[in-house]
Symmetry: C2
Subunit: 327 residues, 2 copies
């Protein structure tokens, strides 16, 4: 986080005054007070132009507590319906894929519906007669707005290609609704080529033909799975940035690395801050600072190209990138 | 399918009389009669020791019709709760992964529950006010039996390792039930090491460290996704075999390649029958013909090793494998 702010400060024009406020949320706070995201803090967060979220989570906190009480709570409270996750294979980074395909796509993951709504339950919990359900909730309202956002993005990219990923041969109700909405909205974008893949088939193409993708639009859970896989094939989770975007501007959008918190190396100076720094670029682009965003992305590409394999500390990488964007 | 039967016939001991009955099901039948799986045929299928299913599907049939009316209908009607999908990187096959990691794991995918139950619906279909749901149904009864099967398999393998894959930080009801049942059943298998991965993280390890997996147990949808990815990293969907198993023997088990029907190359002699032939091996193992199953798998490994990249027809591959298992 410190490196992200360092680069943000370095890249901003002199006349832009940056005001930041730090919120102490996450595992430490939960252990100390039992709180994840108190209402007062949620209200206060609402006042900002944007949020930069440090990776959260710690094995000492029961699974789901921080995810649902903090991260998902923010995504839902601020109606972050566009979960934006670009995937690009930068030069000189390692990919597990032989042949280094040219990967440059963006996943537009729905962020406020699907199986993530916390809708479900368990009956006779813990007994041999237990029944547990999870309900995926999908609305035309929610799907259409994210599909439209994805088409806008596809339309503004050189290849103009949109792929819907779902599983409409099994999840027929949600799947057909998604498909119909894509077909309908797609008519407004005659220059965009649209195709469809089942989620299982999509994972195959992620490793055998990732260059075929340009913009992918998909639901919350499929997007979660696909973007981790995308990060893995494009140099690892240490480089993957994401934005939780509310394009209406009614609420602040939130930017975060795709990776988790790696508490085992916290404070050792071993963490790569690049994913956070690339998230700062997405934040700047969202706020209209396109030039500055591009400058960070170019700096990261140049920095990766210059890496010679010798280990640098978190701080050193941050310094190097801050120097590049300032220069 | 013809090659599968050819190899099956070749490998069986002289004194075993093989009786087969062919069922004309799939796209052609549906076009001709509108039927997918009539009750009479379902009854008749019940009488067999096992079923070998040819890949079904055709773009001329609306998505979901054959999948739900035939394939899933059989899996559910015959209570195929163990969907068994071994993944092995054979020598001399191509993998998209650099470094050719040693991959040899098996996914035990639950086959009769989860998001595959057809439970869901749509309200105000086709309007801007549409709401569509998909309900994942999970029972302790259903989860425990497949978890137990997975532990049995892990316990009989040299590495004795079981990984539960789910998403219990978000899908808390189903996820916690799965986790609790794995913890409980695991106590009966003290020699088996158990771990847990979220499904998104699991996809990362599939491409960066697939050698870490031995037995994976997971739900119906996650298993669907993971096994396509597994097939992709182990030489492609052309080699991936699967069994839809009812270990109680109350109903016949069903064996099928993981891949689809490739109607574009049907009849051209270009399809690789290896996945079907490996499915025959799983069928034989299930019926107690362990030696014959192993013979087929060895033949496939030897055949792959001997391949020099020159194209062979479907028939030639079948002949070569039949000759190897007979010899
Ligand atoms: C931590 C978890 C709730 C989260 C998600 O599933 O969305 C994470 O995996 C992500 O992709 O941002
Ligand atoms: C065809 C489809 C219904 C099926 C599934 O989703 O189970 C297939 O993808 C598979 O993995 O066998």
């Amino acid at each position: 986080m410190a490196q992200g702010l360092k680069v943000l400060t370095a890249v901003l024009p002199q006349d832009v005054k940056l005001e930041t406020k730090e919120y102490d949320l996450g595992a430490r706070r939960w252990h100390a007070t039992g709180e994840t995201l108190p209402d007062a803090e949620l209200e206060s967060l609402k006042q900002h132009d944007a949020i930069l979220l440090g990776a959260i989570g710690d094995p000492s906190v029961p699974s789901g507590v921080l995810e649902r009480g903090l991260l998902l709570k923010l995504r839902f409270a601020f109606d972050h319906f566009v979960n934006l996750r670009p995937s690009k294979l930068f030069p000189n980074t390692s990919t597990p894929l032989a042949g280094r395909p040219a990967i440059d796509f963006v996943v537009v993951r729905e962020g406020t519906e699907g199986p993530y709504t916390g809708n479900g339950g368990s009956l006779r919990t813990g007994t041999p007669a237990e029944v547990a359900t999870e309900v995926s909730l999908n609305t035309a309202y929610g799907v259409e707005r994210v599909v439209r956002d994805a088409y806008e993005r596809a339309n503004s990219r050189p290849r103009k290609k949109l792929t819907l990923v779902h599983k409409n041969n099994v999840l027929v109700y949600a799947g057909h609704m998604w498909k119909n909405i894509v077909d309908k909205v797609g008519q407004e974008y005659p220059e965009v080529t649209t195709d469809y893949l089942h989620v299982d088939a999509a994972t195959i193409f992620f490793v055998t033909q990732p260059e075929r993708f340009d913009v992918i639009v998909t639901d919350n859970l499929f997007g979660d799975i696909l973007t981790d896989l995308a990060a893995a094939v494009t140099g690892g989770i240490g480089l993957a940035a994401s934005g939780n975007i509310n394009p209406t501007g009614d609420f602040p959008s939130m930017f975060e690395p795709v990776h988790g918190s790696a508490p085992d190396i916290a404070g050792t100076g071993k963490a790569d801050p690049t994913a956070t720094i690339l998230s700062v670029a997405l934040l700047l682009r969202h706020l209209g600072y396109e030039q500055q965003a591009a400058r960070i992305e170019e700096a990261v590409a140049a920095d990766l190209e210059a890496r010679d394999g010798s280990a640098r500390s978190t701080d050193e990488i941050g310094d190097a990138l801050a120097a590049r964007v300032a220069g």
